[in-house]
Symmetry: C2
C-alpha cells in the first residue's frame, strides 16, 4: 500500500425530502446565493423546497450554469457575490453546478485573474466561501470532494482544480431528485461513476486489499443497478444506491494509498472542449481503447478485474482480459452510450487538434506510470474511431 | 436504504515513520499532554519519535492507561490538564488509550461529575479538547470515530459514549508500530474488527448494496490476512492492510443507511467488566452464539454472508447458515482465540450476574429489532458455555 493522507469533512445528509435540515446546516444569518443550472430544478420543485428550507435568510439566485460550466458564466456569479456581500453558497444541481460553485467560492477571494486558479490546478487557492450542495444528478462525486472542472469557451480549454478549501460543508442527497432525469443523463451518470472507479482501480497492484474490494464493490453495484435505474427511474432504492455509489466513487476513499491513472479523463476533457461531447460520452469512448492500448502495463489488475467484477475465470489470460474490456464496452452500450467516435459523427481528422490541445495543456505524461505521452494518446484516439 | 447522516472529519495520515508530520498537524503553540498505556510505547521507540515530532512545544506525559481504561485513572489525567492548562491531547496507543483520551477531552469541560458523560452516552457533551492519535494497535477503529468505552472499577461498569466533539483531529497510522505486538493482541484486534463489521452487516436487508459490498470486502480481507498477520507480524503490507481494514470497520461508513445490532458488544462488555476477559475474547464467545440464537431474524443476511464471504453455495439454506456460523467460529479459533466461556474457566454460575448487570445498565432491548431482551441474552449466554 502506498502512503496516503485521507481527509473528507463533508457531511452527507441522505434521504427523501430533508430540506428543512438546511436550516440547521447553514448559519442563521448567512446571506445565501443559490446556484443552479437550467429550469429543471425549478420545474420539479427542488428550488421551491430549498427556498422554504432556507427560511428567513437573505437569499439570492443565480441560474444558468451550463453543463461543462464556463468561466465566463461563473464570473457573473462572482460579481453578484461581491456586489451584494453574500457569504454562503448553495449549489442545487449536478456536478456542473457544484463544480461551478466551487470555482465561485474560490474566485471571490482571488486577487489576480481567477483563471489562475485553473492554471495552478488549485495550488494558489488560500480561502473560499463556505458552501453546501443539494444534489440532483448522481455522477461526478463533486458533492463529496474538493475537485472541480471548469471550461473556458474563448480558448476551448477544460481544466481542473482541487483544493481542501472547496470541500462542501454538507451535501443533501435526496434520491427522489433523480426521478425525472432523462435517460441520457442517468446513463451518463452511471458511465461517469464507473469510470471514476476504474481510474483509481485499474492500474497496477500495490497490495491494497481493501481499496480493491471497495472499488470492485462499486463496479459490481453499478453493473447490477445500471440498466435497472434506466428502466425504473422512480424506484427509490435503485436511485438511492446509484446516488451513494456515485458519491463514494470519487470521495477520495478508494483512491487513498493506490496509484491513479486519469489519462482517460484528460483526453476526454479535450474531446468535450473541442467537439462538445458529453463528459460521460468521452469516457465511454476513451476508456475501452485506453485499457486495450495499455494492456501490458495493466495486466495484473485487468486479470483481477476480469475475475472479480465480470466473473471471468476460464480461458487464456489474453482471452479473459479481452473479454473484460469487451464487457466494459458492452455495459456502456447497454446503457445507450455509444463507445466510438464514429457514433458521434467524428472522424480521424478530429485527432490532431486533440493532441495539440493535450500538448498545450501539459498533458504529455499521463497515467499511473506517466507513460501516456502524445504518441500513446494518438494510438488510443485512433482506436476510438 | 435507510436515511442517514455521515460525517467524519478525522484526517488519516498513513505510512511508516511520519512523525515529523505532527509538527504540521498540531498547532505550534499547543500545550500538549501525551497519553499512553504501558511501557511498550516507550520500549519500541514510538514515544521518542512522537516527542521529537512535537518539537519545541510544551509537552507533558500521562502513562498507565489500562486496557479497558478506567474512570479512576483517567480523572487523574483530567486533573493534570486542568492544573497545567494543557490544551491539546495526543493519544499514543490502541483503542484503550484513544478511548480514554476521548473521555479526558470531554471530561475537562464537564461541570458536574464526568461519569455523567457515560450515563448520558455522550448526550451532555458540548465541548472537548482537540486531540490527535498515533495508533499502535489496529482493532477498535477508535482512531477514526467519535465513540469511546470507559470502565468504572468500583461499580464494575463498562459503558460507552459517543459525541461529534470527540472525533480525533487526525490519526497517524504507521503499520510498523504493530510489528512487536504479541500474538494475543494481534488476534484480538482481528476478532474485534471482524465483529465490528458483523454488528453493522449481519442484520436484515434494506437494499443497501454498497454498504453490503464494503462490509463483505472488509470481512474477506480479514479472513485473507488474519492468519498471515499472526505468522508474519513484520510484513509491512499485511500490517498496513490490517490497520486500514480495522479503521474502516468502524468509522461510520459501512453503518450508514443500514440497521445495526451491537447486542454482542453489549453482552461482551458485561463479561469483561465482571470477569476480566479481553474485549475481543468476549466477542469471539458471544458472536457465534448470538448468530445461532437469532437465525430466524437474520436469515436473509446469513444466507448472503454464507455465499459472498464464505463461498457457501451448496446444500440446504439451514446447512449453509450453520456452516457460515461454524466457519466464523473456526476463524476466531484459528487465530488462537477461544470461543467458549469454558475455554476461560467460566461456567453457568457466571450467567445470572451478567443478566443482572445488563438489566441495571438498561440493556434489555438490544439488537436491530430491539428484540434481545434478558431472556434472549440468557439463551445466548447459555449457548456460550
Amino acid at each position: 500500500m502506498l502512503n496516503f493522507e485521507f481527509y473528507n469533512p463533508t457531511r452527507i445528509v441522505f434521504g427523501q425530502g430533508r430540506y428543512n435540515d438546511l436550516d440547521r446546516l447553514i448559519p442563521p444569518h448567512a446571506r445565501v446565493l443559490v446556484l443552479f443550472g437550467g429550469e429543471s430544478a425549478r420545474k420539479n420543485g427542488t428550488l421551491d423546497m430549498v427556498y422554504q428550507g432556507l427560511g428567513k435568510r437573505h437569499v439570492e439566485s443565480f441560474g444558468g450554469i451550463e453543463p461543462n460550466p464556463t468561466y465566463e458564466t461563473l464570473m457573473k456569479a462572482v460579481e453578484q457575490v461581491r456586489a451584494n456581500r453574500l457569504d454562503y453558497l448553495l449549489a442545487v444541481g449536478g456536478g456542473s453546478v457544484i463544480d461551478g460553485t466551487k470555482f465561485v467560492a474560490a474566485a471571490v477571494f482571488a486577487s489576480g485573474d481567477p483563471w489562475e486558479i485553473l492554471l495552478s490546478h488549485g495550488a494558489n487557492v488560500k480561502q473560499a466561501l463556505p458552501f453546501g450542495t443539494v444534489l440532483t444528478l448522481p455522477a461526478t462525486g463533486s458533492e463529496m470532494n474538493s475537485g472541480s472542472v471548469i471550461t473556458r469557451s474563448d480558448i476551448k480549454a477544460k481544466l481542473f482544480f482541487t483544493n481542501a478549501c472547496v470541500f462542501p460543508q454538507f451535501s443533501l442527497l435526496d434520491p427522489t431528485r433523480s426521478y425525472s432525469l432523462p435517460p441520457r443523463q442517468l446513463a451518463n451518470g452511471i458511465v461517469d461513476a464507473y469510470t471514476h472507479v476504474m481510474e483509481q482501480y485499474l492500474t497496477y497492484p500495490v497490495n491494497a486489499l481493501v481499496q480493491d474490494r471497495f472499488a470492485e464493490g462499486l463496479l459490481s453495484t453499478l453493473i447490477e443497478i445500471g440498466p435497472r435505474v434506466l428502466a425504473n427511474p422512480q424506484d427509490y432504492d435503485l436511485q438511492a444506491n446509484f446516488m451513494w455509489t456515485a458519491t463514494l466513487a470519487l470521495n477520495g476513499l478508494i483512491g487513498a494509498g493506490v496509484p491513479q491513472d486519469w489519462a482517460t479523463h484528460m483526453i476526454g476533457h479535450e474531446l468535450t472542449a473541442l467537439y462538445g461531447l458529453d463528459h460521460a460520452q468521452t469516457l465511454a469512448i476513451v476508456l475501452p481503447a485506453m485499457l486495450n492500448e495499455r494492456k501490458a502495463d495493466k495486466r495484473v489488475k485487468l486479470m483481477q478485474y476480469a475475475e472479480r467484477v465480470w466473473g471471468l475465470k476460464e480461458g487464456s489470460e489474453e482471452a479473459r482480459i479481452d473479454a473484460a474490456i469487451t464487457r466494459t464496452r458492452e455495459f456502456f452500450e447497454s446503457l445507450g452510450v455509444q463507445t466510438r467516435l464514429s457514433g458521434y459523427g467524428i472522424d480521424a481528422e478530429a485527432i490532431p487538434p486533440v493532441l495539440k490541445q493535450l500538448e498545450s495543456h501539459g498533458m504529455v505524461h499521463l497515467g499511473e506510470h506517466r507513460s501516456v505521452d502524445l504518441d500513446v494518446s494518438r494510438k488510443v484516439l485512433e482506436a476510438c474511431l
